[in-house]
């Protein structure tokens, strides 16, 4: 029995058994449904971000006069403006742009691996899977750097207020960086959402790299050549593209808006 996608004749008879009505194998269909459930999970996180952000005061002044304060939601481009090896320069959103580029490129190499798999070209699948793994690991490295910078913070820091005898008084020492309970950038929820949303996405990238490596290993050892098709590359490819898709939304709603 062939597991590859077969052309299905359309009409009533499609649902009468014997063919797969969705025109894809069981494994691929289940991957699609898993990705749908995952889309709902990510939507839950991003929409909650939207809820909390819209229920916090927005910064209303000019962008050039912006300073960090726990009293209003920060402008993302003022938070994410650091690039490795370029300390002290204000380069808003440049690093996150590089990360987006890396992830989109690794999505292209993944789809090229799928194309090579359709042609039973083992060497090409190996090559493109390696590029995809490299892209994924580069992204993870970038994210590790970004997290470190976010947690450590800037030199200036921010003076936060604390409650003493029922009154808000400025602290004497500035707060640097971010932890879950407080941060120098804005309301505590801002850092919490950063950690949870980019963390959950980063975990997906991490597992994606593991899956990609598994596929690469099976390709090298000739498992799919013996099996007669490379459909596993397609299934894991779907997952990898989904990770890219989620990043597109995270990029817009967390970094741009």
């Amino acid at each position: 029995m062939s597991q590859t996608t077969a052309a299905v004749s359309h009409g009533k008879s499609v649902w009468d058994g014997g063919t797969s009505p969705m025109g894809v194998s069981y494994g691929k269909l289940m991957m699609w449904f898993f990705l749908m459930s995952d889309a709902f999970t990510f939507s839950g996180l991003l929409i909650t971000y939207g809820l909390v952000r819209s229920s916090n005061p927005a910064y209303t002044g000019a962008v050039k006069d912006f300073v960090f304060s726990p009293n209003y939601w920060p402008i993302p481009e003022k938070v994410f403006e650091a690039v490795p090896f370029l300390h002290g320069y204000s380069l808003p959103l440049v690093f996150v742009g590089i990360m987006t580029f890396v992830l989109i490129m690794s999505s292209v190499t993944m789809v090229l691996a799928v194309e090579a798999g359709h042609r039973m070209d083992q060497k090409a699948v190996e090559k493109w899977m390696l590029w995809t793994i490299l892209g994924g690991m580069t992204f993870l490295g970038c994210q590790a750097w970004e997290w470190t910078h976010f947690i450590v913070g800037t030199e200036s820091g921010t003076i936060l207020n604390q409650v003493v005898n029922g009154q808000l008084v400025p602290r004497t020492v500035a707060t640097h960086g971010a932890v879950l309970v407080e941060n120098q950038y804005g309301p505590p929820a801002f850092a919490d959402f950063f950690f949870f949303i980019t963390g959950f996405h980063g975990f997906h990238v991490f597992t994606g790299v593991l899956f990609n490596f598994l596929i690469f290993y099976n390709t090298v050892t000739g498992v799919y050549a013996r099996r007669g098709h490379y459909e596993m590359v397609e299934k894991v490819g779907l997952y990898w593209h989904f990770v890219d898709l989620v990043w597109v939304f995270v990029f817009t709603f967390f970094y741009l808006v």
Binding site: W32, I47, Q122, R226, T252
Partner: protein, 106 residues
């Protein structure tokens, strides 16, 4: 059913037309991202800017799901089975953000 000799494998030549299309899709995605960057630093913050970002993001999502994930070429039943439930996400987004703008007034 199970046989132990190596099956004959015929490697087909690369489908240049298909590969060119994939690179074109990647080019479009990167171009839209560049446009988003330009908008981020030229337009003032506000509802119009957010709306533009959402539109551009949906276009990017369309290219990724349609071309890279191949959904555009799948059977229509699968296409709609995946797409229709996403309506709930749209509703969820509108409802919760509206809720947030009310919470701030309490």
């Amino acid at each position: 059913m199970s046989h132990h000799q190596e099956p004959q494998i015929t490697v087909l030549p690369p489908d240049t037309e298909k590969i060119a299309k994939l690179w074109k899709t990647a080019g479009i995605l990167l171009a839209i991202t560049v446009v988003e960057f330009i908008i981020a630093f030229t337009l003032p913050h506000g509802a119009a800017k957010t709306f533009l970002f959402v539109i551009l993001t949906l276009v990017k999502a369309g290219y990724i799901v349609g071309e890279f994930m191949h959904l555009r070429y799948e059977v229509k039943v699968l296409f709609w089975a995946v797409l229709m439930p996403m309506i709930f996400i749209g509703w969820m987004l509108v409802a919760f953000v509206y809720e947030g703008t009310k919470i701030i007034r309490i």
